[in-house]
Symmetry: C2
Subunit: 286 residues, 2 copies
Amino acid sequence: MKLTEDELRRFDEDGYLFFPGRFTPEEVGVLKQAAAEVYALQREEVWRESSGVARTAFAAHTYNEAFRRLGAHPRLIEPVMQLVDGPVYMHQYKVNAKAAFDGEVWQWHQDYGTWRRDDDMPEPRAMNIAVFIDEVTAANGPLLFIPGSHKFGVLEAGHDLETTSYPLWTLDRDTVKKLAERGGCVAPTGPAGGMLLFSSLLVHASPPNISPMDRTIVYLSLCHVDNHIRRFKRKEWIAHRDFTPIEPLADDCLMDLADDQAALGRRYRPPPLPVATPLRSPWCLG
Amino acid sequence: MKLTEDELRRFDEDGYLFFPGRFTPEEVGVLKQAAAEVYALQREEVWRESSGVARTAFAAHTYNEAFRRLGAHPRLIEPVMQLVDGPVYMHQYKVNAKAAFDGEVWQWHQDYGTWRRDDDMPEPRAMNIAVFIDEVTAANGPLLFIPGSHKFGVLEAGHDLETTSYPLWTLDRDTVKKLAERGGCVAPTGPAGGMLLFSSLLVHASPPNISPMDRTIVYLSLCHVDNHIRRFKRKEWIAHRDFTPIEPLADDCLMDLADDQAALGRRYRPPPLPVATPLRSPWCLG
């Protein structure tokens, strides 16, 4: 699971790394089922769009077994430990739905901007790592990155409490324009199972999903244990307060779960899906 | 400029054809300058977003020389004449801006739905052909198509007068979902100079442009002369009433214009650009 010299260099330059096909279709299947389960729950951690469909399930690793395992998956934890040079704890865990037709915009922002201002995290010694649970295409609200935008520290931002249901420290247009003149603007797209690692200082956004295809991505925000947050203003299931170092599980931990569930046979009954089977996207060009 | 057998078959199946790099960077330069010129005009044909930036310049071929030539360009006119099997006239001509940050959504619709209902165009013997003036990426509000959705005639639609400044007959979500389960959802993306030909029955949309990159596309809607509209409810610069067959110009008509302008030297002064030079997008992944 070690990042190569070339990958380390590219991360330093661009502020992100994209690994298509890092999880198998079987593993994605386990996570897709888990996402449907958590979205069906009526819990305060599950936020909804203005239309009522799920937008984000926070802290899903604390109430779902598949997401618990993903939260300690070596393919996610080890590269981040390597980059922050030491043990990490889970600062935030989100299953972001961006549902077909309803998924709303995330404005231009840096995650560390929020962690610094709201949670008093001392340094940007923390980062995001994401797994695509659905295919991400140009059509369904992909994540947009400005390569190299992590090189400028914490940028000025305003607290947007209005655009969507989630309060966010967002950047002004001039800043985004200047950064994009320098670095461009990219949208990593690809089939479910892709993995995306990005700096907590990287400027990013994502457009609304007006397409008929869902677009679920799981985000882990991992922080070096010495760099844990100092202020506890936000809910503990948004900005976690358990700073225990994560012990990576075995590489087959998700497939083990699938096997266990199959072996349990009749005794195990996943809750019924709340919605029709998600649409397949037989061929979505990028 | 003839479409091949394979292209004809693909058009029949999918309802569209995409030709990357159909216009040279020099030709695109001429059109880009022309777009800046028309957007700077205060005319009723130039519509604006709620923010005030240009959204669409209608009928730009009637008041701009470069767009007049593009409106009779053989690379656009001849394939359409081949597909509708005869002479065509210009039913509509749009320079759609979809400006950085401000460009708004176009909801799911069929163009012929509007032409039938509003303009009484007898048959869908008409189609669109578009030229990318900017690079179109996953980031800047690409056109979204549902392949094969042109096979179901005119679909039920509701008249949306509220979402944006442009009234549109839009489809309901169930219809879009069903069509996408069958055909998927694609977003043809690529550098400026690409050409996109699509059926007037093809179901399409485009998301807002939240990126810092502009995304201008010129759309010609061409109709067989025998199939001209019968009702004149909309402004004549939106649904044209000049049914004269278009005579294709020479293939170098745009470069000729560039040469003429250069030769005119001091005598020719294009109006100053109303905005800063558009951003370059040095590398936007799809």
